[in-house]
Amino acid sequence: MGTEELPEGVVQISAGATVVTVDHVSLDYYKEKEPLPVLVDVSLTAARDELVAVTGPSGCGKSTLLRIIAGLIKPTAGKVRVMDSEVTGPRSDISMVFQNFVLLPWRTALENVLFGLSSRTDLTEGQKQTKAENALEIAGLQGFESVYPGELSGGMKQRVGVARALATDPRVMLLDEPFSSLDDLTAERLRKETHTLLINPQTSVQTVILVSHNVEEIIELADKVIVLSARPAHVVGELKVDLPRPRNKQSEEFFQWVDKVYSLLS
């Protein structure tokens, strides 16, 4: 998981340099040949060591935007770039954590993490095993390797999801409403760990893009917030959250930031 293990061709870049660029992206769905705009001219950047949060009214297309960045959906217009290469499909330096965990119930925690590594032909089975075990340990699941997802709590399931995403040594980590299927207390704990877990020199992750409708969660976690409008979604605001970490959710400034985002949403 250390920097020396980064996939070949990955160049270390300095803090603050742009890692992900979403460049004037639009998306239309076609319903009976009629184009139905979903995203209109959305642009954003995510820099090194930055956690960018995307929010907007429910159903506005936040998750769709995330899937475009992941290369799962092709935009109608515009481009997504990671460093200098255009995203044309799913790629190994982008990884994702899903809202509903999406673990395979018929595979153990370790096997689920290994599933994420199954396309890595450059690793031996032994190396994959070590990588998967390390990722589980980082996610706080040591000792749960051979447990099936059905026997894990929601929070632990999501930890497996995080471990699976981390194990592939991604440069870009995409989080799709990762806490919204969890109960409040569990979500709170996992949220507290998120920033230090993902953005630290121990992992390959250079930037994190989080999609969430929970404004407090966003202010707690994000360095930058992108606010989208209702459908068809376009960017209505971009805020740099410069609160010091760890952030105090009870503080006056925290509420001011939350209010700022709310005023953009309404």
Binding site: R67, A70, M96, Q99, N100, L104, R164
Partner: protein, 520 residues
């Protein structure tokens, strides 16, 4: 031809009406009386497991024996269709009445409603949507039984029913030279009739019944025929097995499990009682009972050995065809469901093909060069056409109900196609595959009645017959009036199927649902 379809439809409608009345009576009784519940549910379960082969000797022998004329023949056909529809609808009524919230009972208690008022204002309306829902699929299953029993009535009675789809098929077969354009027109008309009926009646019935719903269900299920099929199969096979669950699979009914277990032995006794009474009535009707003809132990045993052999042959036949269905249907269903466009095009086409009752295709299958004269292959094709849909539709719906995220998963991690199939697609379709297979195997036993022995006239040699098989044994015994063989064959077959359900299927079902159900 129009008359044939009209006659068949009239029989179907009468059978459906009869089934609904029966289902309401039995379903409500079971839901409202604990004692009745304990015996009725396992009994319905046993009856639901018995293929048409188990019913037709008694129905033909009993009803037609008592009324050897056109009325008797028609009644026999209607009762046979009834045996395919009623049990499942009765389960539906039972579950609906069981699921009525307590508040409604309190309401009627406050109003001092009489039993009849309760039935009219609460139980029947509460059951309506499930009845309509089950009817949509039960109709297709009933159509299979209709054609099969019309054809049987020609093969085993001297006064067969006049007019009917099955009759049209046999008269095509008996005509020389065969009238091919007429046959093609017949199949086309049946497809048109099925589709028109679906839109004019079944769909309207289902939409009308939605107003009686107490709880909201996802609308998509009602709109998409494949999803409807899936839900029907699930209700059916789960109602067949859920009550025997080790752990609380269906929490609402857990309190019924112990009662079900206790009731099972009474149900088996009652069932055997019914079988023996029916045999006695049938024998009495045919007037062949005389004490000196009672079989010796030796004849009994040697008969049973022959029956067990034919049962084993049929068992293998049922399973190898179902295995072929799985080998084709599993990958086919997964591929179709993973591609939205393909799903939208393929599902109506598959649905129309599946609506053709397989027995009417038999004369065409016999004509296929090279394989048409081989009874074993003909039998396999008939079984395949009867049950393939249970597998492919269930797999399609099973994959379809998976959240979109799990379909993204292999792409996000760039997992190879083979690894995705092995780790994601096939395991996620397994639960649906097993429930589909339970129903498919049941359907395959049903298909044996036409697949193993097909006779177009009591005076002619059978058009096709396999070397050995329980379907052939039962049909031949019925035609000959060999009641000993008949009784042994029906009882042996029922014991085999029920035992198989209670042991192998039940265990497999629990194992698969426990590990392979996708629940996040």
């Amino acid at each position: 031809m129009a008359l044939d379809i009209a006659a068949s439809w009239a029989r179907m409608i009468l059978a459906l009406g009869l089934s609904i009345l029966f289902a309401l009576a039995v379903g409500i009784w079971a839901a409202r009386s604990r004692r009745a519940e304990a015996v009725i549910l396992p009994l319905l379960d046993i009856f639901q497991s018995i293929p048409i082969l188990g019913f037709f000797p008694f129905v033909i022998g009993g009803i037609y024996g008592a009324l050897p004329n056109a009325v008797g023949a028609n009644l026999a056909v209607i009762v046979l269709i009834f045996t395919s529809m009623s049990w499942n609808i009765a389960f539906g009524v039972y579950e609906s009445v069981k699921a009525i919230p307590q508040d409604y009972y309190d309401l009627l208690d406050v109003a001092h409603a009489s039993t009849w008022q309760r039935i009219r204002t609460l139980y029947i309306p509460a059951s309506m949507s499930r009845i309509a829902y089950n009817t949509q699929i039960s109709w297709a299953v009933g159509l299979f039984f209709l054609v099969a029993s019309e054809i049987i009535s020609v093969g085993s009675t001297n006064v067969p029913v006049s007019y009917g789809i099955g009759i049209a098929v046999t008269s095509f077969q008996n005509a020389s030279p065969p009238d091919y354009p007429d046959y093609v027109l017949l199949i086309a008309s049946i497809i048109v009739a099925v589709v028109v009926w679906r839109f004019l009646f079944l769909r309207e019935f289902a939409l009308w019944s939605e107003r009686f719903k107490m709880m909201e269900e996802p609308r998509e299920i009602h709109r998409d025929p494949i999803m409807r099929f899936y839900s029907w199969v699930n209700h059916r096979s789960i109602s067949k097995l859920f009550l025997l669950a080790h752990d609380s699979g269906v929490t609402k009914f857990t309190s019924s499990i112990a009662r079900f277990r206790r009731g099972l032995k009474y149900a088996v006794l009652i069932f055997l009682g019914i079988v023996f009474t029916l045999i006695a009535v049938t024998v009495w009707q045919s007037g062949t009972l005389n004490v000196s003809s009672l079989p010796s132990l030796y004849t009994l045993l040697s008969n049973e050995v022959g029956i067990l052999y034919s049962l084993a042959v049929s068992f293998v036949r049922v399973w190898y065809v179902v295995a072929i269905c799985i080998a084709i249907g599993l990958p086919m269903g997964v591929v179709i469901s993973l591609n939205f466009k393909l799903y939208d095009t393929a599902s109506p086409i598959l649905e129309v093909i599946s609506s053709i009752p397989a027995p009417i295709l038999l004369p065409a299958i016999v004509l296929i060069p090279l394989i048409g004269h081989d009874s074993e292959i003909v039998a396999a094709i008939v079984i395949f056409l009867s049950v393939f849909w249970y597998i492919v539709f269930n797999v399609m719906a099973g994959v379809r109900t998976l959240p979109a995220d799990i379909k993204d998963l292999p792409h996000v991690f760039k997992v190879s196609r083979w690894a995705s199939w092995r780790n994601v697609y096939i395991p996620s379709a397994l639960t649906a595959l097993v429930t589909g297979a339970i129903t498919a195997v049941g359907g395959a036993w049903n298909a044996l009645i036409i697949a193993e022995y097909f006779q177009t006239s009591p005076t002619k040699a059978p058009l096709t017959q396999v070397a050995s098989g329980i379907g052939k044994t039962i049909t031949v015994a019925t035609n000959k009036g060999d009641y000993l063989t008949l009784a042994l064959a029906v009882i042996s077959m029922t014991i085999l199927i029920v035992t198989f359900n209670l042991t192998v299927w039940r265990r497999l079902y629990h194992r698969v649902t426990k590990r392979y159900t996708y629940n996040r």
